[in-house]
C-alpha cells in the first residue's frame, strides 16, 4: 500500500514538473500563441487565416484608432482544412462580435509543410478539438505515420529549445501583428482580370468551405470573408472567385480588397513581396478595414478601460519599433 501511495505521489510530482517545464520550453511565439495569452472574452474581433491576416491587420493600430481589440488565430501557410476547427477553438475562449476569415490561403490544402501544421496545433491547449485537427491534418499530409507521435506530443520537438532560449523567447509580434519593413516594387495586376478567372475548388477546398459555412450558419455567427491585396496567378484567382460565389450564394459577406480603390495601395512601395503587404501597406489596410468594422459592427471602445492597458503598451512598443526600423512615425504613414 505504501509503495502504491509513493508511486502515485511520484507520478503526480512528475506530471506537474513536466507540464511546467513544457510550458517554459515552448517558446516560439506566433500569432496563435499570442491569441491564447489574451484574457477570456476580451476580444471584439477574431481574425482567422494565414500570414495575410497577421501581416496585414495591425491589431494595435486598430485599437489605438478605434478602441476595439482583435485576436489573431492566424498562422503561416495555414491549411484551409482547419477553418471550421479554428472557429470552434476560438469560441471556447472568446465571444467576438465579428469573425474575419482570410481567403488568401485557400490554395493551401496539400499539407506538405510540416511547419504550417505545427504552428497551429502546437499552440493549442490539449483538447478533443486539437486531437481532431491533428488527425485531420496528418491524414491528409505526406508525413510518415511513424512520425505522427511527434505531433501529438509537442514536447518531443520543443524540449531542445533551451539551447537557444533567449533568441527564441523574443516576441516580435504586437498582439498578433507582425511588422514587415522591407519594400519590393511589384507590378500590379489588372482589376478586370478578377471577373475573367473562375475555376472549381477541389474536394478538399470545397469540403473545408462547406463545413465552415455550415458551422457559421448553425451557430449564427457574424463573419466577413476577406480577399487580401496581393498578386494572384490565374489558378489562385480562380479559387478565390469560386469560393466567393459559394460564400455569397450562402448570403455571407466577402470583401475583395484588390478591387477597392480607396485603399490606395501603392504596388511600388506598399508590398513586402508579391504575396504580402509591408508595414506601409498594412497601415493603409488596417485604417480602412478597422474603420469599416467600427462603422458596421457594435464594437466597444476600450481605450479608457484599465483592464485593456496592455494594448496601449503594445501599441507604444510597436511605434518605437517602427521608428527604429523604418525611421517613420505612424502618423507619417
Amino acid at each position: 500500500m505504501k509503495k502504491l501511495r509513493n508511486t502515485i505521489i511520484f507520478f503526480i510530482i512528475f506530471i506537474i514538473i513536466f507540464l511546467l517545464i513544457g510550458k517554459i520550453l515552448h517558446i516560439k511565439p506566433n500569432a496563435i500563441h499570442n491569441f491564447y495569452k489574451e484574457p477570456k472574452n476580451s476580444l471584439d474581433v477574431v481574425y482567422i487565416g494565414s500570414s495575410n491576416a497577421y501581416v496585414y491587420f495591425n491589431t494595435v493600430l486598430a485599437y489605438e484608432e478605434y478602441g476595439f481589440t482583435t485576436g489573431m488565430m492566424a498562422s503561416d501557410s495555414q491549411p484551409i482544412q482547419v477553418l471550421n476547427y479554428l472557429l470552434k477553438e476560438t469560441r471556447k475562449r472568446q465571444k467576438p462580435k465579428v469573425y474575419v476569415i482570410d481567403l488568401g490561403h485557400i490554395h493551401h490544402y496539400e499539407n506538405d509543410e510540416i511547419g504550417a501544421i505545427r504552428k497551429i496545433i502546437d499552440e493549442m491547449p490539449f483538447s478533443l478539438n486539437r486531437l481532431a485537427i491533428t488527425k485531420k491534418l496528418l491524414n491528409e499530409s505526406f508525413i510518415d505515420k511513424k512520425d505522427y507521435i511527434n505531433y501529438y506530443f509537442s514536447f518531443l520537438l520543443y524540449h531542445s529549445t533551451w539551447d537557444n532560449f533567449n533568441n527564441l523567447k523574443q516576441n516580435d509580434l504586437y498582439k498578433g501583428y507582425l511588422l514587415e519593413k522591407l519594400t519590393t516594387s511589384i507590378i500590379p495586376q489588372e482589376k478586370e482580370n478578377w471577373n475573367d478567372n473562375v475555376s472549381y475548388l477541389n474536394s478538399i477546398q470545397k469540403e473545408a468551405l462547406d463545413k465552415t459555412i455550415k458551422y457559421i450558419k448553425d451557430e449564427n455567427l457574424e463573419v466577413i470573408f476577406t480577399v487580401p491585396v496581393k498578386v494572384y496567378d490565374t489558378t489562385k484567382m480562380g479559387y478565390i472567385n469560386a469560393a466567393t460565389k459559394i460564400i455569397e450564394d450562402n448570403n455571407l459577406k466577402v470583401i475583395n480588397f484588390n478591387t477597392i480603390d480607396e485603399l490606395k495601395i501603392d504596388y511600388a512601395h506598399d508590398l513586402y513581396n508579391s504575396e504580402h503587404l509591408n508595414v506601409y501597406g498594412a497601415t493603409k489596410y488596417t485604417r480602412y478595414f478597422a474603420k469599416y468594422l467600427k462603422e458596421n459592427y457594435d464594437l466597444k471602445d476600450h481605450r479608457q478601460d484599465k483592464k485593456y492597458s496592455s494594448w496601449q503598451k503594445e501599441y507604444e512598443r510597436f511605434t518605437k519599433s517602427l521608428k527604429k526600423l523604418t525611421g517613420y512615425n505612424i502618423e507619417d504613414i
Binding site: N150, L156, W162, N164
Partner: protein, 506 residues
Amino acid sequence: MNLTTFSFLLFCIITLLIYFIVPKKGQWFVLLLSSLYFLFYKDFNIGTLFYVLVIFLAAYFSAIFIDKYAHKKSAKWFLIGGIFLILSQLILLKYVNLFLVTINHIGSLFGQSINLEITPPAAPLGISYYSLIMISYIIDVYRGLCKPQKNPLKCALFMTYFPILTSGPFIRYPDMEKKLYTKHKFNYDNLCRGLIRILWGLFKILVISQRLGIIVDTVYQNYSTYSGLYIIMAVLFFTMQLYTNFSGSIDIIMGVSKIMGIELPENFHSPFFSRTITELWRNWHITLGAWLKDYVFYPLMKSNLIQKIGTKTKKLFGKKVSKKITLYISMLIMWILIGAWHSGEYKFIIGSGILQFIYMVFEDLLAPIVKKGCKKLRINPDSFGYKLYQCLRTYLLFSLAMIFFRASSVSNALEIIKNMFIFKPGFFTNIFNLGLNKANFVVLIFCLIILFIIEYLQIKEDVIEDLFTQNIVVRWILIYALIFAVLIFGMYGPKYDQTIFIYQQF
C-alpha cells in the same frame, strides 16, 4: 527497432503487461512470441527466415545428437557439423567480401588485377550474437555442462531472446536455462531498479553519445579541413561516444530484462579506470572476451598444433620463451577473431584486433622493465598520480586503435592519423562551430563529468542499489534529475536524426 524509440517503449510495455498477466507457465511463450516479432517485424522474408532457421536447426539437432551419442566418437562429428553449419551462415552473410578483398590484394601483389566482389544478402538482426550464442550452446552440451533443450520452442527462445538481439550481451545456456523458463512474479523492486537502469542507458545514449557523435562526425567526415587538435579531440571523443552508445544500449536491455526478473550478465565494468589495455578488455565487452577465451583461446592453447609449436620452440629457445610464443600465437588468433567479429573489414581486424594484441604483448614484455624503472625512480605504482597516468595512457592507446574502428577504411584511418600531427591555429575560437553550440558543449562536458563520477563509484559498489538505500527525498531528487536530464537534454524527436546504435550493425 531502435532502443530509444517510442515503438520500442510501446513494444516493451505490451510485452511486460502480457508477460505478467498470462499464467506463469506461459510466460516463456510470451517471450518467444515477442522475440520472434522483434526479430522479424522489419525484414521478414524467405531469405532471413532461411538463415535463422538453418542456425536454429543446426544448433537444436546437433545438441540433441551430441547428447544422444555422448562419449562416442560420433558426438564430435555432430559438434563439428553443427558449428560448421552455423559458421557457414555467418561467413556467407558477413565475411565473403573479406575473403574476396584479400584475394584481390594478393593478386595485385603479383601484378594480377582481380576484381572479385559480390553483394551478400542483408544479414538478419542479431546474427553475430545468436550465432556465437548457439555455438557456445552446442559446445556446452558437448562438454557436459548442460543438457540439450528438447523443446524446440524453448530452444528458439534461448536463441532469439529479444533483449540481446541488438547489442548482446552474449548469454550462455547453463546460466540462462533457469532464468528464461522459470515462472517470474511481478516484483516492484525489480521494476524500479530496471527503470532506473533504462533511464541511465537513455542518458548515456541520448544526452552524451549523440552530442559526441555530432562533433566526431563533423571532424571525421572533413578530416582534411580539421587537422591537429580537432582530430585529437574527435579521436578522444569517439571512444567515449562508442562506450556511451554501446554500454547505454546494454543498460536499456539489462533494465528491460531485469523488470521481467531475468538477470543478464554484465558487459561493462567502468573500463576507463583500467590501468592497462589487458585490464580494459576485462572490463569492456566482457561477454565477448569471455566467450572467445572459453571457446577459442583455451581450446587453441590445448590444441595439437600449439602443443607441437610449444615442443619445438622449447628445444630452440627454452621453456620461458616457448611459453610466451605459444601464448602470443593463441592470443593473435583470438584478437584477429575479435576484430573480425565486428565486421568483415580489415579496419576492424586492425583496430579492434591486431592493435589490441600488439598493445598487450608490449605490456607483457615491458612489465618487468617498467617495474624496475619505477623502483629506481622511486615511483609508487599505487600512488594516485601514477594510477591516473596509467588510466590516461590506456585511454589514449585505446582511442588511437579506435581510429580504425570509426574511419571508413584502413587508408582513411592512416590519413586521419597523419593529419593529427598537422597543427593549424584557431582551435579554441572554432570549437563551437563543429555542430554543437556553447550551451550544448557545456552540457556535454558537465554530463561527462557526471558519467565519470558514477563510473568511478560503480567500481566499488552497485550505484543503483546504493540509490535505493538513500532516504526518499534524496532518492526522488536524483531520479527526477535523471528523468528531466534525459527529457530536456536528450537529442531525440523530430529535430534530430534517428539515433544510431553502433553495435547493432555487427
